[in-house]
Symmetry: C2
Subunit: 386 residues, 2 copies
């Protein structure tokens, strides 16, 4: 296989760079970067069997719900010694019967990504990004965070014993449980006068001008790890792909990475049908929704974004172009829901025995809205909410 | 196989009862009950292979880290329709290098039971107890709890849709995060004027005089589920059994169930060597330690038990006799650690990227004490801390 490369996602640029550079945006046009693979000789049938058989292995890389799928993350091939894994992933898919009734569906299944080492889906991406940080020789990594990213980054750094974590927190805008975790794992935390978007801008500047390595989801290696959520899900479903996959939309790393997974899985012949990716935002922090309904070619940002769902209280989502690409590719959808709709949906998910953040409950709220709006037009059998 | 039976654990009584009765203590002598099996035709080699192969299955019972080992929980055989599972268990075993150095060991591995549907090890036992509750036709289940038990019971009840959960909370003595979870999952909560031991006495009375089904660990079905922590651990270690297994000691359900697992696995030929079970208590809530050091044949309770490790702040542990049996069988050990030792150990575990309750950190604190006290006498290669 040709060496994996960074590739600028801009149609008009598409420039490529070595992944051994410390790079977070295209040096030519400043657009976002993908990790691009040639993937020349993969047999989907064989690999599906390999993936499945690794579930029964006691090797740490096989036991990880991320590295089990390493043939689809081939940038790390030969560099396994840098990998830091805590057995992340492996989150079961469970029925959500009360939520199904609530939204008006017969079948609704939830892949709960909270049952992870640091308590959130961020661990899927962090195990990959920290491994790349080590490979590049980074000694200090950083992120801007309202909670989950900081806890996850701090946990993985702790396990390296030689990479330090520095977290930039929007003033007073971090979930306290997450802050305690971050401190428990030994990260240095710096409070920034400003909101998440301001903290994000600051860490991008710092990572460009200093040795700090950036661990937010603008880092394409984070998204490579998160890609495996889709691969793991389809494996769990015996590769019977659902009609629709519903995710919350904040900084849009999830939708971006799931979109990349769908594109690669389709291209490689792992799946025929592409599930429709559906992104739900809080109406107080709905830049992607605003961008799409106004058919704008530039992001329509939200100043002073606000929602109780603090994990998605983001007005300038860094990965918005990749999210748009994912929705285009999968014939997807984006909608917004109110604070009341989020709170109601969270209560219903609780009644299914599924404890989640308000941000995650946007999915059930959005699905209800989607089905009520389109009852006569849309037939939906199975949904996935992550 | 003969039908599984309740059997009184008293050597002088040993009376048996049908497991179709709603029973929590021996009707003859009031002692604790085991679920006793005949296990007449199990082949350990075959079953090890079956267990391993189920890791690669997408069937819900195979995916559960509890029900995967159902041949060793044969009371449920033929009654699978009552089972409520959320894919619990499956917690990885990770190295804890900084903790190892801290306690003075070369190898220390941690099986972190927090990465579970309701966030604690209680889910291992709850999936079993709720299934038995349903089989018996119970409509309302109850427990006394300082946090983890209530959250777990409430989550599993929510998934039944036909069994209601009632939680009795010691006045002001529940962890608030756990209380929020319990309410989120729709349980009714009742605050009791008194501590955990008072609440425990109350729910025992209620379950004897009303239709309420008791879900605390005096319920032997809870311990059957928790048994699988050991089976899963040994499977993960390719049946290379560690020298020592260290657990926190509160109500002593863990040590009791792990002890039963060790007895059964040894008897059935799954293991030759029996790891030494080591129970660590907080010095302000150390009834088992007091009982053992005074060689008392009756429990030496602790009135007004107190420790910051709220999950083990228990002065009259209900399963103490089973814990003593487990320590005797495994040539085990019990010790106490101070609040400062617990806090220090928790900080070190955090530096390993392992977030845990103070109660769980007693294990590392106890291990340090054990090794420092016995450096010349004890050789310990690998430890498990759950």
């Amino acid at each position: 296989m040709n060496r994996p490369r960074f590739r600028c996602i801009s149609d008009t640029c598409g420039k490529e760079f070595s992944i051994d550079e410390k790079l977070f945006r295209c040096s030519a046009c400043s657009d976002l970067l993908d990790i691009a693979y040639a993937f020349d000789d993969l047999d989907p049938g064989d690999l599906r069997r390999v993936f499945r058989s690794r579930r029964g292995s006691v090797e740490p890389l096989d036991g990880s719900g991320v590295w089990r799928y390493r043939e689809l993350l081939p940038f790390a091939s030969g560099d396994e010694r840098w990998i830091v894994t805590m057995g992340e992933g492996n989150n079961p898919v469970v029925d959500a019967r009360q939520s199904a009734r609530y939204v008006g569906l017969k079948n609704l299944r939830v892949k709960h990504l909270g049952w992870n080492p640091s308590g959130s889906f961020k661990d899927y991406g962090m195990t990959v990004a920290i491994s790349q940080a080590r490979k590049l020789g980074s000694r200090v990594v950083c992120c801007a965070s309202t909670g989950n990213t900081s806890a996850s980054m701090a946990a993985y750094c702790a396990r390296t014993e030689d990479v330090r974590a520095v977290v930039f927190i929007p003033e007073g805008q971090i979930a306290y449980g997450k802050l305690s975790q971050t401190l428990d794992y030994g990260a240095q935390t710096i409070q920034v006068r400003g909101d998440f978007d301001a903290a994000m801008e600051l860490v991008q500047d710092l990572s460009n001008t200093t040795d700090l390595y950036l661990m937010n989801s603008i880092n394409p290696f984070r998204l490579e790890g998160q890609k495996t959520v889709m691969i793991d899900l389809f494996d769990q479903l015996d590769w019977k792909v659902p009609d629709r996959i519903v995710v919350p939309g904040g900084n849009l790393g999830n939708s971006s990475s799931y979109g990349k997974a769908l594109m690669e899985l389709k291209r490689l012949g792992f799946i025929e049908k592409v599930p429709r990716l559906t992104v739900i935002q809080a109406s107080g922090a709905n830049p992607l929704y605003r961008t799409l309904v106004s058919s704008s070619r530039e992001l329509v940002p939200v100043d002073n974004a606000w929602t109780l769902a603090s994990a998605i209280k983001i007005g300038r989502p860094i990965s918005w172009k990749k999210a748009v690409r994912a929705l285009n590719f999968s014939d997807g959808w984006c909608d917004e829901v109110s604070e009341q709709e989020i709170a109601d949906a969270k209560a219903i998910l609780g009644r299914d025995g599924i404890g989640c953040e308000p941000a995650s409950a946007t999915t059930v709220a959005g699905l209800k809205k989607l089905i009520e709006g389109d009852r006569k037009n849309v037939r939906i059998d199975a949904e996935e909410d992550v």
